[in-house]
Structure formats: structure tokens, C-alpha cells
Symmetry: C3
Subunit: 154 residues, 3 copies
Amino acid sequence: MSTIETRLKDLGIILPAGAAPAANYVPFVQSGNMLHLSGQLPFKDGKLAYLGRLDDTVSTEEGYEAARLCAINLIAQIKAALGDLDRVQRIVRLGGFVNSTAAFTDQPKVVNGASDLMVKVFGDAGRHARSAVGVPALPLGVSVEVDALVEVKG
Amino acid sequence: MSTIETRLKDLGIILPAGAAPAANYVPFVQSGNMLHLSGQLPFKDGKLAYLGRLDDTVSTEEGYEAARLCAINLIAQIKAALGDLDRVQRIVRLGGFVNSTAAFTDQPKVVNGASDLMVKVFGDAGRHARSAVGVPALPLGVSVEVDALVEVKG
Amino acid sequence: MSTIETRLKDLGIILPAGAAPAANYVPFVQSGNMLHLSGQLPFKDGKLAYLGRLDDTVSTEEGYEAARLCAINLIAQIKAALGDLDRVQRIVRLGGFVNSTAAFTDQPKVVNGASDLMVKVFGDAGRHARSAVGVPALPLGVSVEVDALVEVKG
């Protein structure tokens, strides 16, 4: 078993099959050694979890869990793309979109759910640049969407 | 006539002159073999079409058409950058921003207007990674903005 | 003193220490010759400036100044990453997120605060592709967040 797969197992994380895109596009495109991942939603056991808006029906803690689920789905797509997660050179960038009321300003605490998991799973190679912003609405009513850019070992 | 230009003609699409940026930046920057396109608005015959907000004054079908127009303007900028559209190796990524009420959750159906066109025009090379999110407001009151990352043949 | 540092001095700009991320991520990741910068907030003298929403408590002119501050913080991070700002080959892309009421449509005028500064500081190498969108909420209540992609000299 690969190093990263072992770490996932130690964390009790079972990767889902990569979710099919909700529309006419693909979940990832590799260009050179850069892997571009489509925005992932908080799917758990094939169903969306934590629907709703932060500061409204979703708490910051629940938003954190939603972002963590987005990261698990990103890792599932990375595995689908590369076959072996040990081929990840670096998680370069995450883009976090948080379904927010106008009063909610803790987007960083929410997107930490994805950032923390990437560092737990990939170690220093999981440390990434990031943007976290609020949005008024997301596909299918989810609370968080996260996309990613990953460097692949040459 | 190039393969892609022929396909555009078959689709009845006439590329506009690339729209000038609404501010102090440029419509595209090529870095290595990656072409970064600025967010494009739904210009048609030099005028903005489908102004307004989804689930308010703009229907999902109209939003789809607006996203399609954004894609046509992206293709116009790609042509301005590369001269020949056959030099496109891959549409790597689209970023779709949909002017949405808080209740609107069909951003994917809207951004499909851009995704579908890219696949019609570029075939498999048009299949891309994508993020689609809602926003409360866009430049000049447009309903959709789409940016893109394109890989250019070496 | 380097060319760019001299220009900053002529513009009366003193770079801050790069702001520490508000969460568990890093301010920049270099992958090959591409430097990815995390979204920067309008810090001035270690404090956030121009908190609030455009068209509400923040005017377009104040938003412009906020975006300019974001750009100064981006340049500070670029310096932290590269040591010497003369190693910048090109500011490739800026992503501007503007805290906006639903009625505000002058996001380009706001993000110009960042774009104009990049061109003043880096000249033609500062001309970038860009997306500018409205958002309903941003981390810590700031009015503007800007991220960036920079090409580094080989």
C-alpha cells in the first residue's frame, strides 16, 4: 500500500468513487505536470451533506466538515487521475467558495476543513496557496465548493 | 480555412473582435504554453446581452445563452492571442460566475452554455475542468462571467 | 537597489512584512517557474483597512484604495518568495473579489486599484489577465480580496 493510502487508512478515510460532474465537463485535466481539478461538492456516501448557508442553517463547525468532505472528494479525483496518490508532488492551490450570508466573515475557518485535511494526508506537500471567499449560492444548494491545482511528480 | 474555423462556420458562429477590457488589464497573457484568459462578459454585436440576475429577471435558459456568449468571446480572444484556433491543444479550465439570487442553485445548468460550446467547437480538446459558483453582482450588471485557461500546442 | 525596489521607493510605497495567513495554508507556492499567491487582504500598517461592503459603507474610491493595498501585500509576498522583485517575469493573472451589494456593478473600477499599481510597479511585465466579480462576504469583513499568479524568470 502506498504511503499516502496508508495515511488515509490511519485517518479512517475511505475514498469514494470520484463523483461524476453535475454537468458537461470533466472532473480533472492534466496539462504537463499540472493537474487541474473541477470544483468538488461535499458528497458523503453518494449523497450531498451540509446543504445550506453559513450563519443561517449551517454552523461554522458544520461548514468545516463540509469543506473536509470536499477535500476527500478532491483526493478521490486525484487518485482517479493519477492512479497512485504518491505521485502528488504538491497541493499547489485550493479555491474555497463558502455559501454565506452577508454577515458571515469566517470563510477561512470553514475552508480550513479542506486545508487541514490536505496537510494531514500529504504532509508538507499538502501545504498550499489558497483563496477563500463568500458566495450567495452554490450548485445544488451545497454550503461549500472547493477546487484545486496539483503538481504531479515528473 | 482551419479545422476549428470550419466548425465555427458550420455552427453559424461569427467571432466578434475580442472585446476590449473594461479596465486597466489585458484580455490574455501567455506564459509558456499556457494561455490565461480574462473573464469575458456576454457581448453580442458589441452590446451586452442578458443583463440581470438568475432566478430574478434572467431565466436558466437565458443564463445558458449568456454563458454561451461568454464562450464565444473567449474563443474570439483565443483567436486574437494565437492567430490560428487549430493551435489549441486543450481547453484546460473554465471558471463560471453566475449572478444569482440566494435561492438559485442551477449554476451548473447555466455554465453548461459555455461548456457545451467548447466541446462542440473543439471536440475532445474542449473537455475541461470547471468551477461554477453564484455571485451577488457582476461587472456592468451582466448575468454571467467566464474565464479560461488554455493549453497551446508546443 | 533593484529596479523594482527603486520604483516602489519613487512611488512612496514601503512594503510590509508579508501578512501571515489567517488560517492553515501558506502565502505562496512556487511550482516550476509559476508562483501562486494566496488571496491577500487590505492590510495597512498591520491593520485591516476599508472594512465593509461596496455601495454600502465603502465607496468605489475607497474600494480602489483597498484593492491597491491588496496589491501592495501581494508584492510583499512576491518579495518574500523570490527575494528580489527583479526576478518577476510577468504578473500573469489577478483574481479580484469585491464585497458588493446586489446593486453594485463597478467591480472593475475597484479592482483597478490593484491592476493600476501592478503596471506602475512592474511596467509592461505588470500587465495581466484578470477576473473581477462581486461576492456577498469576505474573510474578516474586508471589502476586497485579490489573489495572483506570477511567472518567475528562469
